[in-house]
């Protein structure tokens, strides 16, 4: 009988634990969307931020976040994809493979503030660029790279060996097999991996404080010459992202409508990040169905 009551008690405690976690999540999301939802308007999403006066928006910050993500993905995807191909297709148990796995593990668990310091030293000071989008993109690359390599390796390994063997048996070379058979087969996994990674780095702030900087110069969205310093596309200008803006407004903000901006920015950031996660699931699923015609 004692074992029975212990079983009941333990079950109740575990249920309670699960309910606590659900309640915490619900209150976080509820709080953000309820408070932030009120401040989101077209003006808020498009206007530039204010330093002292009220009424500022987060338009440039949203643009900077997406642009920085795109720049960084442009660098990370080719390198990460090839690194993943190496691990899934070429690597044999050797010193190099072991070393590579250890490095990926190390990169993956480095605190992002340390990556920010590395970025400050190499991409900001040694290159002489100062705080620029490019420095930020390179710092984000350090965070992205282990994730992309890992997702690529997993996606490639999930392709059935029989497909590879059939391709090789038809006389295709190893590389032809990888490019024409394995990569297309792994495509749904790759796409969702890339999008999940995008969601992860979209909210990154610590690595960007000292690389992409905490200021956003006035942008002229009609200036599309990327060498012009007020062009939004110029990769060598400082750029404050949405996540960095949230941190800065909350810790050093001087504007009178601080709460409104902080609440609204957090809600926008959460919605975008959740959007990335949903997109990853939906797109991965859809491409998979399209390819397998089910």
């Amino acid at each position: 009988m004692k074992a029975r009551s212990a079983d009941k008690l333990a079950t109740a405690i575990i249920w309670a634990g699960a309910l606590i976690v659900i309640a915490v999540l619900a209150s976080i999301i509820g709080y953000i969307l309820f408070n932030g939802g009120k401040s989101i308007s077209w003006d808020f999403l498009t206007k530039p931020a204010q330093v002292i006066h009220s009424g500022g928006g987060i338009g440039p910050q949203i643009f900077n976040s997406f642009y920085l993500l795109a720049l960084s993905m442009l660098i990370t995807i080719p390198v990460g994809l090839l690194g993943g191909i190496y691990l899934a297709e070429y690597a044999r148990p050797s010193k190099l493979t072991g070393g590579l796995r250890l490095c990926i593990e190390t990169l993956n668990s480095l605190p992002s503030i340390v990556i920010g310091l590395f970025g400050l030293l190499v991409f900001v000071n040694m290159t002489g660029w100062g705080y620029t989008l490019m420095s930020g993109a390179l710092a984000l690359t350090v965070i992205n790279l282990p994730l992309i390599v890992r997702y690529t390796e997993e996606a490639l390994q999930s392709v059935p060996a029989s497909l590879r063997e059939a391709s090789l048996a038809l006389g295709a070379s190893h590389w032809q097999t990888i490019v024409k058979v394995v990569l297309p087969g792994a495509f749904p996994g790759l796409v969702s991996g890339f999008i999940i990674t995008s969601g992860r780095v979209f909210g990154e702030a610590a690595a960007l404080l000292f690389t992409a900087g905490m200021s956003s110069p006035a942008l002229d969205f009609s200036q599309w010459n990327i060498f012009n310093s007020s062009s939004p596309l110029n990769p060598f200008r400082p750029a404050e992202t949405l996540a960095v803006h949230i941190w800065k407004v909350n810790t050093e903000g001087l504007i009178p409508d601080l709460r409104r901006v902080a609440d609204g920015s957090a809600a926008v950031l959460i919605l975008i990040v959740l959007g990335f996660n949903l997109l990853a699931r939906w797109l991965g699923h859809r491409i998979y169905r399209h390819m397998t015609a089910t």
Binding site: D7, A10, A18, S112, L117, S173, W175, A205
Partner: protein, 295 residues
Amino acid sequence: MKITSDTTGRVLSTGAALVTILLTLAIIVFIATKGLSTFIINGVPVKDFLFSTNWFPDRPLEEGGPQVGVLAFMLGSIIVSLLAVLVSAPLSVACAVFIREIAPFWGQRVLQPAIEILAGIPSVVYGYIGLSLLVPFIREHLGGLGFSVLAGFLVLSVMILPTIVSMSVDSLRALPQEWKEAAYALGSTRWQTIRIVLLPAARSGIITGVVLGLARAFGEALAVQMVIGNTRKIPGSILDPVITLTSAITMDMGNTPMGSLWSNSLWSMGLLLLFISCLFILVVRFVVQRSEMSQ
């Protein structure tokens, strides 16, 4: 010799692998070089740096000269992250058991997606929630300023929960079904099966998750910096403000001139963080290796 696309492909992917390795080595070398300059160029003894709480990085010579002891920062980091793990680990294991054993239906449809959403929330948003919900709550109901050790470790404990849960769920899933069946056949209750058979068998995965969670808590900068008050003192209670290695770097790195003792000692703190995160990886490797050997 004709260069085929096959060779090109092999060379490119090996190249990418080498780039990854070089990048990791570059990070270690650059941070180490910069971080060691406190000891080499400024001549601060390592012992004074690690075991002193005297932090006067810009004190003029006539008042005794600058001193850079980071013990208070280090203890702050250790206290906040250990307490976070203490709260998060039991809760995470309960969630993992819930998902795998107690209620797989609700677990997989509600709890697991909820934990995935928690994993996706950016750390600044955790900091913002802590700042605007938790800090005022502590100030009004428990006293103190609200900016406290308590706020810091509560925020962190939610942040690291997904890491520990997902590792624990994976390792519970990997157990052979027969073990559970055997335990039930011998007349165990569900809780006895979980406590005596499943949890001990999944131990190495759970420990790995806890260590990874600890590493994440230790290295988190902004979420912590926003809620702990950042007072350079060893806290006397969990309602006192505290400072950590990461929050000190976050606050001061932008305001100190490169090459000064103050800036150098911030780099040394970065090196310390790097060193500790490598240590965590070694612990994880050790745990995994031992469990592989025992199987």
